[in-house]
């Protein structure tokens, strides 16, 4: 136990995800020894992130205005919406450079055991975005785990009456891996989603 404010700092840092007591102590002592200007920049960044960052009213992504930069960008294709669980997934897909449409962040996946059903997610907001009639394709990019698959199955069922093209991200073998190490579920899905090669 340390005195006063040092212990307070360690306790606060220990509240962060993935930071245990030892890590909290190490970060606290790093901050104590760091240059005052560096610490001030960190303080400013923390204050600003709480003050300025909100969620996009259209897609639910992280934004610094009413709309996020993707929804506000007129060059993005408004005909395709990629549905993801978290804002982190938007960043992951943007890194690929393959998708030029817009996003919709659900805010999680359906997980009845955690008390999360469709009503707790931004499903109704997704449906209301389809009212304009501009959207022609919905890409379901929820995580390839059981909750993500069930969420995709639920959304596909809800979207069916709209007559849109509803697609699901392919699952299969990771690039750079060995076939013999692939598990049955992944390999099975790779077979399901196999594609024709033009010779």
């Amino acid at each position: 136990m340390y005195e006063g404010v040092v212990q307070d700092l360690i306790d606060e840092l220990g509240q962060l995800p993935g930071i245990g007591p030892k890590s909290a102590q190490r970060i606290a002592f790093h901050l104590l020894q760091a240059d005052g200007a560096d610490v001030q920049r960190l303080i400013t960044a923390l204050a600003e992130v709480k003050e300025k960052v909100a969620f996009c009213t259209m897609c639910g992504n992280i934004a610094q205005a009413t709309l996020c930069r993707i929804c506000a960008d007129p060059r993005r294709d408004g005909q395709a919406i990629c549905v993801v669980e978290e804002p982190k997934d938007v960043v992951a897909i943007e890194r690929t450079g393959e998708f030029r449409g817009r996003y919709h962040v659900l805010g999680g996946a359906i997980s009845p055991m955690d008390g999360i059903g469709p009503e707790q997610l931004r499903v109704a907001e997704l449906m209301s975005r389809l009212a304009s009639g501009e959207v022609v394709e919905i890409i379901l990019a929820t995580d390839p785990n059981i909750e993500g698959e069930a969420t995709a199955a639920y959304l596909a069922r809800q979207l069916k009456p709209f007559g849109l093209r509803v697609t699901r991200l392919a699952s299969g073998l990771p690039v750079g891996g060995d076939l013999e190490y692939a598990d049955e579920v992944t390999l099975g899905r790779a077979f399901e989603g196999r594609r024709l090669i033009d010779a």
Partner: protein
């Protein structure tokens, strides 16, 4: 470091650190155990897909001070993956797994619960019966194994031979007129017959039951489970009991 192997059904998972998970499994010989699966959230994980809820795996772990760690996992049956493609079955699966988690104690062998759970997963994945009936059959039988077997014929209090007309959750099932307490209900006889059939696995009667009796049976089963587990099941309100009926979207201006 001592290692062991066991067949196990994955009940639930929790995120741990950067890419790990804590996996709660019901093992055939060891009962409920919590194990750490390292790196399973990475896309290149060798056994991440095998350690999803509803999967049955042949597990190898090494014993740790608090939690054991998975070193190998081989698939025995990928029921979870099959069930997740049908949203209605998935909501039943969640309640089945949550109930199994609640009815078993850590490191206390529970072979009967394991076998029952295995059967429920196979039935949900195989779509051999309506998912809602499979769920009710599982809940009633899991409670019976746990020592809370309901009576749907004779009086649960005094043993007076049935059929009895009233049903009381806190009394343990059907009750005779003299044992009937406030809060008792008088369900349709066909509903009690359906529940009795589900309890003993008479699927001919269960499959032939009418929707209104199934609905009434759902309510009685849910009330019975919630009462005996003392704490409500979080997944139960999310169970989709009725088959999905497609509706035209009102938002796009269509009219129904």
């Amino acid at each position: 470091m001592p290692t062991y192997r066991d067949q196990a059904i994955v009940l639930r998972t929790h995120k741990l650190a950067e890419a790990d998970r804590i996996i709660t499994v019901l093992a055939r010989e060891r009962g409920k155990i919590r194990v750490v699966a390292k790196g399973v959230r990475r896309t290149k994980s060798r056994f991440g897909a095998r350690l999803e809820p509803g999967m049955i795996v042949d597990l190898q772990c090494y014993e740790g001070r608090n939690l054991d760690t998975v070193t190998q996992a081989e698939s025995i049956a990928s029921y979870g993956d099959q069930i997740a493609r049908d949203y209605r079955a998935y909501t039943s699966l969640a309640t089945v797994l949550e109930t199994a988690d609640r009815l078993t104690e850590e490191r206390a062998p529970a072979l009967q619960q394991y076998l029952l759970l295995q059967g429920a997963l196979a039935a949900l994945a195989g779509c051999t019966h309506d998912a809602s009936l499979v769920l009710d059959a599982y809940l009633l039988r899991a409670l019976a194994i746990g020592g809370y077997a309901p009576s749907f014929f004779d009086c649960a209090q005094c043993g007076d031979p049935g059929p009895q007309l009233a049903f009381n959750v806190s009394s343990g099932g059907s009750v005779c007129p003299s044992c009937r307490r406030p809060g008792s209900v008088a369900p349709n006889r066909a509903t009690l017959d359906l529940l009795g059939a589900l309890l003993v696995g008479d699927w001919d009667i269960a499959d032939a039951s009418l929707p209104q009796h199934r609905r009434e049976g759902n309510g009685i089963t849910a009330a019975y489970v919630q009462w005996h587990l003392e704490r409500g099941l979080r997944s139960l309100p999310h169970v989709e009991r009725e088959p999905h009926v497609e509706k035209l979207p009102l938002a796009t201006g269509f009219t129904t």
